[in-house]
């Protein structure tokens, strides 16, 4: 009788230890996803961290205004989003390491558009970006050789100062086949300090 009782107790202890071990392993798997370079796990980290509005995208051509948002995730990412609001899941943009928010450049820009891939079929195209504090102007070079000047706003990421911008391309440009081809950052002296290629359909 005592032996049976001991066996049951032993089984319960073994089961409890197994359960605990499984729980620890499973938890570490979950936690590991937040640090892992596993591409499929990246998405999980985007549900974490703080998000702040740093610039606006003006309403125009019958389309509503949007915002430019910066999100610092708990997984060490700094993401720059073009979105209707801070709480919206409709985020379009990109993420870099928190150690290098601009990705090794003085400028990090992101183009988002709906329609296409032919330029004439694009219904809405927007450009957002972050630049280092020594950038005085950001211009977009268009396919017809003209330029669009971005309005820069001061943005703080933790204790570091940046310049943020958001811009909506005119529908008349798109209908005419005119699209952005490069984003150029210049210092106050007029010297070009960064250039990023962009474009619709590519």
């Amino acid at each position: 009788m005592v032996g049976v009782r001991m066996t049951r107790r032993r089984r319960a202890i073994v089961a409890s230890i197994s359960a605990l071990a499984t729980a620890i392993v499973a938890s570490s798997v979950v936690a590991g996803q937040f640090r892992s370079p596993d591409p499929e796990a990246f998405h999980v980290g985007l549900a974490t961290g703080e998000i702040a509005r740093v610039a606006d995208i003006a309403a125009g051509d019958g389309l509503p205004g949007r915002g430019v948002f910066v999100q610092a995730t708990d997984t060490g990412q700094i993401c720059l989003w073009d979105a209707p609001s801070a709480s919206s899941q409709q985020r379009q943009g990109g993420c870099n390491s928190v150690d290098d928010p601009l990705g090794g450049s003085a400028l990090s820009a992101s183009l988002a558009y709906d329609g296409g891939p032919a330029v004439e079929d694009v219904r809405d195209a927007r450009l957002i970006g972050l630049a280092s504090r020594d950038v005085a102007t950001v211009q977009v070079l268009m396919s017809d050789g003209t330029q669009r000047e971005m309005r820069l706003r001061k943005a703080m990421l933790e204790s570091d100062e940046y310049r943020a911008f958001g811009y909506r391309f005119k529908r008349s440009d798109l209908r005419g086949g005119v699209s952005p081809i490069a984003v150029i950052a210049k210092a106050a002296t007029g010297d070009e300090i960064a250039r990023q290629s962009t474009g619709i359909g590519g």
Partner: protein
């Protein structure tokens, strides 16, 4: 017996949490080294919501988009040089994720999530 039941509950909950962390993500291209202008597409589905290009670093120009299966137009397209290029488009239409490298010689993967 109660202890055993409690232990089983803990195991089930823990495994469910672990599985949920990765649920719904499908890598449809890579990881491999990309060539300039190389593209790839996922299967067609009405449930895809997110599409992203996960690269081994920043500075590599890439595009992600969704392509519907009726007009084959591009939707919610994003192009940038961030370490991860990311977009969201949720409609009930059948669509596939599409990604494209605009620069060369980098490692990366393309992922869709429902």
């Amino acid at each position: 017996m109660k202890r055993l039941s409690a232990a089983l509950v803990v195991v089930v909950v823990a495994l469910t949490l672990a599985g949920a962390a990765l649920a719904g993500a499908t890598t449809y291209a890579g990881p491999w080294q990309w060539s300039q202008n190389q593209g790839a597409g996922s299967s067609f589905s009405s449930s895809w919501k997110y599409n992203y290009f996960f690269k081994n670093g920043s500075g590599y120009d890439a595009t992600v988009t969704f392509i519907d299966n009726v007009t084959y137009s591009w939707h919610a397209t994003v192009r940038n040089t961030s370490a991860t290029t990311y977009t969201y488009w949720f409609v009930s239409n059948v669509k596939r994720g599409h990604c494209r490298a605009n620069s060369a010689y980098f490692w990366g993967s393309c992922v869709v999530v429902n």
